[in-house]
Symmetry: C2
Subunit: 279 residues, 2 copies
């Protein structure tokens, strides 16, 4: 038996596209459509929960990457979601990936929506975790929330953003944080400050700019996941997103914040695999 | 190998409690906690989708019954949810069932909430489909909606109440209706008009009476299921219910009305079994 690469062992690979060197990892069961992960604000290859990636990789190929300017990827991070999506499409096409499933987390969930509207033929199904539709008012508080988070030490910052204040949720957060550091070799470097600021601009613009996309036009199956208490996105926005889509399944988890799928990794994996395999 | 009773072959049994003869059926894999089905307005043993019951019965014992005055059960149907719950508890205790999981559909979902608050020690987990919390304003339109439904022939009435107006949803409804008539022998009789009127009073009172229950006190795991377009309950009310519970998972299905689990029987069975087994 050959040893399959896993989330923890897959080497970081690179491909040069439009002068940008993109870092990525591929692993899991070979499948017709890879599941491509679109990461949250500042997040790199190593901010994906390996437990979740491995659960998904049992049933399909998983492809994660650093978008332009993020982590180990070179290039300039755009200050808007549209250009982040264009960069991602160029990267994927260069790899020969012309049809894929999307796992979009937070900022990655904004890019997911943009892809479904603007590149409908490239996308098969979408999983959107902890996100909001264009025009979400709550995002005007995003810089303030991040500023507050930065006053805390790294562990408290992680818990503050992704988990609720209950002991149960915080303990799940500490477990998650350990998992994020399971991989010790060939790790990604942190995203540079200039890129972080560009992402912050992109996120606040997603909430502030005029709404240009008609989500009702998205025919793809979409699986939306959210926690009961996501203060960054406002949990209500996932229901608002659901109501604008024609073919979405929405699930909320209890006592959970922005990192709902970190908190319930096995529930999420079961539901996401069922959605991607059967819906 | 012994042949297990199934949803389609389990005989209707009877037990006399407080002078009421309760009709019920039990089947499925023996389990520590049976899943007890609480049925919708007018519904009898034969209004449960056998495909759903069988999927659930693969992993646990299922117990369905006609509450007082419903279907083949004798007795008087109460005009309020509380007394329906008391009747059910008397019936279950007489069978020796002192702890159980709940599957509450519509009116049955109201009873489920009441049981969790007033008999917390009897209930392990709850699955609530197409329901609303106490005080749901939309229920003041319930008699009008039923009156409109009664103007239609039986098939159209079923589709009007439980499915959306799209061809996809209506076709799923026609398939469901066929399944409800798969069982040909030992069927239940229809619920008598007096009982139907008592249930109508109970449902409108659930929306109109002062809210007496603090759902935040429910510690049980709850799985809430709803369609995107349930006009009877107003789909928003499932999110409102979720927000009042401390340990609930909520899932919405697309292009679905009051009969969301009829429309997606396999998705529902997978999620409900996962919830009942693992959460």
């Amino acid at each position: 038996m050959s040893t399959l690469r896993t989330a923890l062992t897959a080497p970081t690979q690179y491909i040069n596209v439009n002068g940008i060197n993109y870092a990525y990892r591929r692993f899991g069961k070979p499948s017709e459509f890879p599941l491509v992960g679109f990461q949250h604000f500042t997040g790199t290859l190593d901010n994906w929960d390996p437990l979740i990636l491995e659960g998904l990789a049992q049933e399909r190929e998983v492809l994660i990457f650093d978008n332009a300017g993020v982590g180990n990827s070179t290039g300039e991070t755009p200050d808007n979601v549209a250009d982040m999506a264009h960069d991602a499409v160029d990267f994927l096409n260069a790899l020969g990936v012309y049809k894929f499933d999307v796992l979009g987390f937070s900022l990655g969930g904004f890019i997911a929506q943009y892809l479904a509207v603007k590149y409908p033929e490239l996308v098969r199904k979408l999983v959107i975790v902890g996100a909001a539709p264009q025009g979400a008012k709550v995002l005007e508080h995003f810089p303030e929330l991040i500023y507050n988070a930065m006053q805390k030490d790294p562990e408290e910052r992680f818990l503050y953003i992704f988990f609720t204040a209950t002991t149960t949720s915080r303990n799940k957060g500490k477990e998650t944080l350990k998992r994020l550091f399971t991989r010790t070799e060939d790790r990604d470097k942190e995203t540079a400050q200039e890129s972080v600021l560009a992402q912050m601009a992109a996120i606040t613009r997603w909430g502030a700019d005029p709404v240009t996309m008609d989500l009702k036009m998205i025919p793809h199956p979409v699986f939306i996941v959210q926690g009961s208490d996501d203060k960054m996105m406002d949990s209500d926005n996932s229901y608002a997103l659901f109501k604008q889509l024609s073919n979405a399944v929405l699930t909320y988890y209890p006592d959970a914040a922005h990192g709902s799928f970190y908190q319930y990794p096995q529930r999420f994996v079961n539901q996401a695999n069922d959605f991607l395999n059967n819906f």
